[in-house]
């Protein structure tokens, strides 16, 4: 499904799902695939929207492949950090379904504004997973062209990118690119901690009053480094949308199918000119905040185990297996592909050259600066003074 557009292509044998109306254990949570791998035909959200997906078997297998691949590549990056090859890594472990589901829900013309953890979305956009590793290795600062990939640079300052997404979405509307099936939509990623930021709340205001074609996609992974959700909010995060005047919905972020359905619906509403909405993808950060963090200091093992039982990949695998959409050969083949791609990624990370020292002066300004020209020249001469010496 690497190039696919799941849910659009119809046909093929489908699983035989059972039907349900908003009857999960948590009535607020949109879910189409239970942790046990039981398929739910459709779910009615809090505002009456009916969510369903209609994938071919090939598309179901494609989603599974995405989930496994992004987890494996992420694990490889964590390993590279442990071996000193990356300065730091922000793992997506546990959030694969939230990222693959929303990432695959994007249409080609849609624009994404990530935080620094959306490696899975990046992968689903068809972008080479090596791209952000330069940032974490410290050989660059994540320097890609957002417009080339329809995927903004990673943003480290918490919540800042939601305003950029809002402005971009205002531009989409000003360009007259909404109101049709091929209209453009924008998605802004952020976390539960970011919802306390002024910038995120300002984004909510702006997107609302300008009716921006924007989906706010909050991965509520329960922790902002060490601080639990209770330190950020008194109400469920998706309910905040009501105060800003647009819809909010909570989806099971460990359910790739429900995440896809909810995100696709919100994006299509946005592209048709119906304005912004907020998705709270309810998930869990299985790993540390980053490789510099120690989550055992602030959360207990039983909590992690409880979420382990809701693993996004295990439930998809159980579903594929039960419905005989995929078997052992397929699972082995996916694992082998993941292994190959991670080895390939590792080799290329190790081959990343350090930048030449004087390149640090490059690109400060589009039109340059005499001050920098002077500093570059002085520094170059300084470096040259060591040439041929044993220093």
């Amino acid at each position: 499904m690497a190039k696919g557009d799941p849910g659009v292509t119809r046909g093929g044998r489908r699983a035989a799902p059972r039907s349900r109306k908003g009857a999960t254990g948590d009535p607020e949570l949109v879910q189409l695939l239970t942790p046990e791998g039981e398929r739910i035909d459709s779910v009615t959200g809090p505002d009456g929207t009916e969510y369903r997906v209609d994938f071919t078997d090939e598309e179901y297998r494609g989603l599974y492949r995405d989930l496994v691949l992004v987890r494996k590549l992420d694990a490889e990056a964590t390993a590279l950090q442990r071996q000193g090859e990356l300065g730091i890594w922000a793992s997506l472990l546990g959030q694969e379904a939230a990222q693959v589901g929303s990432g695959r829900a994007l249409r080609t013309q849609d624009m994404a504004f990530p935080t620094y953890r959306e490696h899975g979305v990046l992968y689903c956009r068809g972008i080479d997973p090596i791209m952000p590793l330069g940032l974490f290795r410290g050989v660059d600062q994540g320097g890609w062209d957002p417009n080339e990939f329809k995927f903004n640079m990673y943003t480290i300052v918490i919540g800042a990118q939601t305003l950029h997404a809002t402005g971009y979405a205002m531009g989409v509307a000003m360009d007259g690119k909404t109101g049709t099936d091929d209209g453009e939509a924008v998605i802004a990623y952020f976390g539960d901690g970011a919802t306390s930021q002024g910038d995120v709340n300002e984004s909510f205001v702006w997107a609302g009053v300008f009716n921006a074609p924007l989906v706010f996609f909050c991965q509520n992974n329960q922790y902002a480094i060490s601080e639990p959700l209770e330190r950020q909010t008194r109400i469920p995060l998706y309910q905040r949308a009501a105060g800003f005047g647009f819809p909010g919905v909570r989806v099971d972020g460990n359910d790739v199918l429900a995440t896809y359905a909810v995100t696709r619906h919100a994006l299509d509403n946005a592209r048709h000119g119906q304005g912004p909405s907020l998705i709270e993808a309810y998930t869990y950060r299985m790993g540390a905040h980053t490789t510099s963090d120690d989550p055992t200091r602030y959360r207990i093992a039983s909590e992690v185990e409880a979420w382990q039982a809701k693993d996004p990949i295990a439930r998809m695998k159980a579903f594929l297996d039960k419905q005989q959409i995929a078997g052992a050969d397929f699972f082995a083949e996916v694992d082998e592909q993941a292994r190959r791609e991670s080895v390939h990624l590792r080799e290329r990370v190790l081959a990343m050259p350090n930048p030449e020292p004087t390149t640090l002066f490059d690109h400060v300004y589009p039109n340059g600066s005499p001050l920098l020209d002077e500093q570059r020249e002085q520094f170059s001469k300084y470096l040259e003074s060591f040439e041929g010496s044993a220093h």
Binding site: N152, H164, G171, E202, V205, V209
Partner: protein, 329 residues
């Protein structure tokens, strides 16, 4: 050549109008910039003529103004953001310093943020607190931003257009106490032939001391030079115009001739523009200097209450006092 007599504020208005006419991607955004025309009327009439998609009244949130302007810039627009007063720019400081200033660098040149951030700055209008500040050093200290300030109507008219046309992110500091001062403006002169944006200029030639100023203090220095001339001293006044990057060639040439330099600005002296200028002049003109580079600045206090701002602000007498002191070495 159509030369009109305009106030500095009106010159900015006419310049912005030209910028909107010249490029459909230019958008003006800020608080009260639409129907009201801005609290200083700098955008007066522009929304009426260009519509509310080109001249956007924004929610009251400065970080939101700059942050959404970044998104518009990524989308291909050229936002001109108005921050209503100097003291209200700080909520947007993170977006300016961490985002606007760094995006071209981080993207290795692939992403440009051609944004102008207009800020009425400085005191002298009897305002309540937070309405009279001079934050230029914060921005001039930030790599990735360029900072300019106009001092007369002609420059206001030309420089705002140059800033909008530039792909560099530019903090454009407007001397609010000079908004109502009139001067000749050649409104038909082609922009391509204009004096460069990032260049200093001798505002008044002289031989004895070099006065270095920008924005509102250029007028103060010119007045000081007029007064000094009556006493037989010829002060050269340089309008720096660009604070980042500084255009130092003109400065060095002048100081090497005069041997004396006084920097004048409203902002506090500690680590201000004067400190950088003094250091650079000392490095480059050491053997020409007859005295240390002196500074006449605001004091290192918060901007004071309006009834004592005349004491806080550098004025003609304090400038001339410093000039006298340069002859005391």
């Amino acid at each position: 050549m159509a030369t009109e007599t305009l106030t500095l504020g009106k010159a900015l208005n006419v310049g912005l109008r030209k910028a909107l006419e010249n490029d459909p991607k230019v958008v003006i955004m800020g608080e009260d910039v639409g129907k009201l025309g801005g609290v200083f009327r700098i955008t007066d009439g522009l929304q009426k003529d260009f519509g509310d998609q080109r001249v956007i009244d924004t929610p009251l949130a400065e970080s939101g103004i700059i942050g959404t302007a970044i998104g518009l810039a990524i989308r291909g627009y050229r936002p001109v953001c108005e921050i209503q007063f100097d003291g209200f720019v700080y909520p947007a400081y993170d977006q300016i310093v961490s985002q606007v200033a760094k995006m071209h660098y981080r993207s290795r040149g692939k992403l440009r943020i051609p944004m102008v951030i207009r800020i009425p700055f400085g005191g002298g209008i009897g305002a309540v607190e937070h309405h009279s500040e001079s934050p230029e050093a914060y921005f001039a200290h930030t790599a990735g931003l360029k900072v300019v300030s106009c001092a007369n109507p002609q420059d206001a008219y030309v420089m705002i257009q140059q800033a909008v046309a530039s792909d560099d992110p530019i903090v454009f500091l407007e001397p609010k106490r000079r908004y109502w001062e009139k001067g000749p403006v050649d409104v038909d002169a082609p922009l391509a032939d204009a004096y460069p944006l990032h260049a200093a200029r001798v505002a008044r030639p002289g031989t004895d001391v070099t006065l270095l100023a920008y924005g509102p203090m250029v007028r103060t220095c010119l007045d000081a030079a007029t007064a000094a001339a009556e006493d037989g001293r010829e002060l050269e006044v340089i309008d720096l115009r660009t604070l980042s990057p500084l255009d130092l060639g003109v400065v060095y040439e002048s100081v090497k001739r005069t041997g004396r330099a006084v920097v004048v600005h409203e902002a506090p002296g500690n680590l201000g523009m004067g400190a950088e200028l003094a250091a650079r002049i000392t490095e480059e003109c050491f053997y020409s200097l007859e005295s240390p580079v002196l500074r006449v600045t605001g004091f290192d206090t918060p901007y004071p209450a309006a009834r004592v701002e005349e004491e806080y602000l550098p004025d003609l007498d304090r400038v001339l006092d410093a000039v006298d002191r340069t002859f005391g070495w």
